[in-house]
Symmetry: C2
Subunit: 689 residues, 2 copies
């Protein structure tokens, strides 16, 4: 693409930088330096390189851009303004760091605002998300494009700073992107050599280009990247022809033009009034004028909305042609674009299961495999635990670079919907969030590892929750019941986190029937991540007691008794234990009700009447029996039979017994509690074991 | 070092592999393949390379070895047995995967057992821990060695598999280790090209040697590493002369000799009876004999205990000479070796603070700086938030490779005790755990970032808790009060995790006085990590109300009233808010007591009498006021004024008001609750906002 040199890029660069400086100065806070240094990148992207439509920010085949260095958000906000995104008025720009609750300009980019693809800020997430966007785009293109018609052919752009390149989650995603050969991914590295502590070489002296090349990325370099719009445009143009993900190392100066340019102090604080004034003089602007955008600058970007509409029109015409020529594929494609599941999705979930004891991780496979096989909305994978987590299906194809033939795996293609994420749990979750964010409902990514290792993935799961992105986290080998692998692999505190996390569904089914209910709940939970906690060990089928439909209530009675003296709450692998303990308590003359409690998140959504019926607060003692830390259950129960230490390496059955999770032990301790508790003492939550 | 060729290494290799196969076969579970493939590495290390003393596993100047691929633990257990660690009898080896609760052979290595440096298993942690061990060793050497006498000169060995090299935490630590030039660190890469899902190239096709070189590591390679003991010995010997961390890429065959050698199935399951039998025949051993170690093999390692004692004797002589020549340094060194703080450590903590409102993150700096400056047990640092977290001190020297001069930082030395960890939160915590594990009490690592980003670090903090390793996590910018950075930076659910995590101290002080108490508690908490949750924003000094000595109680009354009608619980930045709300409630005629509740973990350790005095359960309504998810507080309170959503980007004061955290709003809602609540309805926990 040829670069238009009128008006001079210098005017745009200068205007942009002074505007950034003003916007940070007005309330004396924010991040000016990075955005200022990246000005030329912005011109190269929004003026010369990206396909997007300001009048329709959600245009399906748009190029995506994500600021992995989210603190430079003003960079994006200002370009959205200049290129004519209607919501991003100058008045809105000025809400940055203001007290306005209706601001489109929060301190980091937020997905709910037009033109923002993903919420970023926690470093390293954005680039991993972009790997997900690139995978989604490759997969859709491979599934739906035809030799003569491409309905999906966009590019994913990502801007990273030094920080993102130090974060493990980014390094995991970079490695996988290189392996997969995602040539629709272009990363622009804002290489300003500065971090908050000082210069990058305080803590990092690696050869980043060599490292990227070692990871199967192509590397391009732009030396004078603060100003050299043409050079950046040229590099981006080259990048699109390279059959690898491309890393453009762009050397910039943080806070360029400020008195403290090139210094850490330009990163995260207002520059100061005098500094801003001299900056404006340096760029030939009036220091008395604030938020000043000359008409020529608006003119420079004036074509963008119409150009965007033209992109849309072209794409619509392409889709029309495609519809005519490939009506079946088009119908399917349009369903994906609309983000809808087939209406009959639930029919794929089996109604019957083996009668014998089954680990819920296997039940999960039985429930989900036919659904995922039939509905290509599902995009599944594992962090190297495929044989253990049962998220594949017979005949599944792997999402792989078609150019690569693994030594001990199937040759895949980009149309495959099963991804070996590698031993990269954090990257996996962040990539899945990106797949989900590509277009709401187009994908339901299903990821899997042991529950314990979702702690590695937790920052990305949290970001999915914050963004209300659907994904399903299959979490096997839950609880101490996982056995011999020992305390390193036995989660104790982690469920307390997921249960406390907003917009998150943590659900722990007791048997195959409840696992079906858990999956139905997860598929229905479209506005955040679900974590399905599943056992390694076999669990009895509680036929006639458990009910998939009631999982959505969060808690329900699996063993009713009239006028109970006591009740036991339990989830997952402890439900059958609670039922067995209840039998023993009955023998001791204590009428014991049992409540299966697969999800506190779902339970909290029920009516206060229903909750009261279940909880019987203040009426009878209620004991939660669960192999996790009890924290949070005190809301529902008056006593807990739970874990207060880390676990132990023993065979699963033995570790459960070691910590007293046997029907006898539970019944004995609960009976003792029941015999001694009074209406008064019931107020004090008791730990029974 | 010359390699002793009698008896043939083959006999040792074969014996070792068959023993591994038997140990996994006996209970039909475990990880045989990796250990079998690594046999030659083990001989190279334990026979020819490492300095250690089987009769004194804790010999201070020993070389350390850590299996980052912890599932290969049998590898280490068997070498501990062969080299004469007394506890590791053959009977003990056979407890692997057994029901024996007194086993020294859990499914992953555990720090509490002799000869094990660190608990590993969650992948990537071990190598990051090793970077910490190497830092500790370099720092001690730099502080205490003299040109003529070296009291610390050991080497840190780490074995990694493919998995560890994919994990972000490892990649972060590798990058930092290269930057720091830790030439006392030798990583042996068990390159068997296999992971659980299949071949590594399913998910990773990078050039690992090039990547390590790009990160400032030296790379050596051993092609036939399953058998070539001499080649590995030679590489290790070379490695010790290279002034960089060294990565030895050792090509091995997983499960070598088994019918499924070189395959994923050899990784994590017993080989099968027939397979083990043929393995033994292949190695010329009797398939009917199990757990068979020929005398020649024991003889091969027989020298190890005496050799170890000699190492010890030499070191003791060195220390004696050192003591004579450098008595002051020796006294200090011995205190460090003994893991003791100076008796007067508490005297360094100031008694007085500024009267004006102060952010607790600044208070933390005021408390800790003089202590850390005076006592070199403290080893502090930040994940690139040094200007924000206040864990430095005036005149601090940086821990840096003396060969490197950063552009915008001090030239450091290995004697410095301030480390720029980079934007590597997870790596930081894992490295700190390694520093702490070097020798208990020799170091108290202090790390720092925003509270929200401890979610990145959480897997390593959890591992520190599991291992009862002391470290202090300074967690600033807590709560929504952090302001404009918005919901990405505002923790909601994370405190629920740390409060539920065993062996962990989460403490959230309300002002400078409580911050002093929090630090005293953290320094006294020697058997796990402390997380000190600190405000970005200024908080009033609650002079005369708060009391550092009472922080250790976890909760105490800051506003007593006689015969209270109601009480408010609060922590950190909400304590002053609760006090202000209480004033308003008093005006409304409601006698309101206020409890500062800095730590639920500490509170749980108090007597039931004390707890009852604080909680007044069932007597009066108690409302917890806190800007986090309420989960867990239901144990203490009858209602919550808390966060049920993610936060918002607004100035700190405004975001607090937006979510109703103003004295007026709190008082209004609490009064309404108080007016309507009954003894009966108090049973149902209420969310007031």
């Amino acid at each position: 693409m040829t670069v238009d040199q009128s008006p001079s890029h210098n005017l745009v660069l200068g205007t942009f930088r002074c505007l950034i400086a003003d916007l940070v100065q007005q309330y004396g806070g924010g991040h000016p330096g990075g955005a200022m240094g990246m000005a030329a990148m912005g011109i190269a992207l929004w003026k010369y390189s990206m396909r997007y439509s300001p009048n329709n920010p959600d245009f399906f085949n748009r190029d995506r851009i994500v600021l992995s260095n989210g603190h430079t958000c003003l960079f994006q906000y200002v370009f959205l303004h200049l290129t004519g995104y209607k919501h991003m008025t100058m008045e809105q720009l000025k809400t940055y760091h203001s007290t306005r609750v209706d601001s489109f300009c929060p301190g980091h980019p937020e997905i709910e605002h037009p033109g923002i693809e993903l919420t970023t800020g926690p470093l390293g997430q954005g680039i991993a998300n972009c790997v997900g966007l690139a995978i989604a785009s490759k997969n859709l293109a491979s599934l739906y494009n035809r030799p003569d018609i491409a309905v999906v052919d966009n590019t994913i752009y990502c801007i990273v700073g030094d920080a993102c390149l130090q974060e493990g989650v980014a390094l995991e995603a970079i490695s996988l992107a290189g392996h997969l050969g995602l040539d629709n991914l272009v990363v622009l590295y804002d290489n300003n050599e500065i971090t908050f502590d000082g210069s990058v070489d305080l803590t990092n002296t690696e050869d980043v280009n060599k490292k990227m090349e070692a990871s199967n990325w192509a590397v391009l370099e732009v030396e004078d990247g603060s100003d050299n719009v043409d050079g950046i445009v040229d590099a981006i143009s080259k990048a699109r022809d390279i059959k690898k993900p491309v890393f453009i190392n762009i050397h910039t100066v943080i806070g360029i033009g400020a008195l403290n340019e090139g210094q850490s102090s330009a990163h995260g604080a207002a520059l100061g009034v005098d500094n801003v004034a001299q900056l404006k003089r340096k760029w030939g602007m009036d220091p008395e004028k604030h938020f000043n955008v000359p008409d020529q600058v608006y003119q420079f970007f004036a074509e963008c909305p119409a150009r965007g509409e033209q992109y849309e029109a072209e794409w619509n015409a392409t889709v029309a042609k495609y519809t005519e020529k490939y009506p079946d594929a088009a119908a399917e494609f349009k369903r994906r674009v609309a983000g809808k599941l087939p209406l009959d999705w639930k029919s794929y979930i089996p109604k019957e299961y083996p009668a014998e004891p089954t680990p819920t991780r296997k039940s999960s496979g039985l429930v989900m495999s036919p659904l995922a096989k039939a509905v290509d909305t599902f995009f599944n994978g594992s962090a190297d635990l495929s044989p253990s987590t049962f998220v594949g299906w017979s005949g599944k194809a792997e999402f792989q670079n078609p150019a690569v033939q693994p030594k001990a795996g199937d040759k895949g293609s980009y149309s495959g919907r099963y991804l070996h994420y590698g031993i990269r749990e954090h990257g996996m979750a962040a990539i899945a969030a990106g797949i989900s964010a590509y277009n709401k409902g187009t994908y339901i990514p299903v990821i899997s590892t042991f529950l314990m290792f979702y702690l590695y993935a937790a920052p990305a799961v949290r970001m999915a929750a914050l963004q209300e992105l659907q994904m399903v986290c299959v979490a096997t080998h839950d609880s101490i019941g996982t056995g011999e692998d020992g305390p390193t692999h036995q989660p104790i505190a982690l469920p307390a986190f997921f249960r406390a996390l907003p917009n998150t569904l943590f659900v722990r089914p007791a048997d195959s029937e409840e696992t079906a209910g858990a999956w139905e709940a997860a598929v229905n939970f479209t506005h955040g991540p679900s974590v399905i906690s599943l056992s390694r060990q076999s669990l009895p089928q509680l036929k006639g007691l458990t009910d998939r439909a009631k999982v959505s209530l969060g808690a329900y009675v699996v063993k009713p008794v009239s006028q109970p003296d006591l009740q036991l709450f339990a989830s997952g692998s402890e439900v059958h234990l609670a039922l067995e303990a209840a039998e023993k308590l009955e023998t001791a003359g204590i009428k014991t009700r049992v409540v299966s409690f697969p999800s506190t998140n779902l339970f909290e959504k029920q009516s206060s009447e229903y909750k009261a019926q279940i909880l019987l607060r203040g009426k009878i003692p209620s004991v939660i029996v669960e192999t996790y830390a009890v924290n949070g259950w005190e809301r529902y129960a008056t006593a807990g039979y739970s874990m207060k230490t880390f676990g132990k390496s023993l065979p699963g059955k033995d570790v459960l017994e070691y910590f007293g999770f046997s029907a006898n032990e539970v019944a004995t301790k609960v009976e003792k509690y029941y015999r001694s508790v009074t209406k008064e003492s019931m107020w004090t939550f008791q730990d029974l074991n």
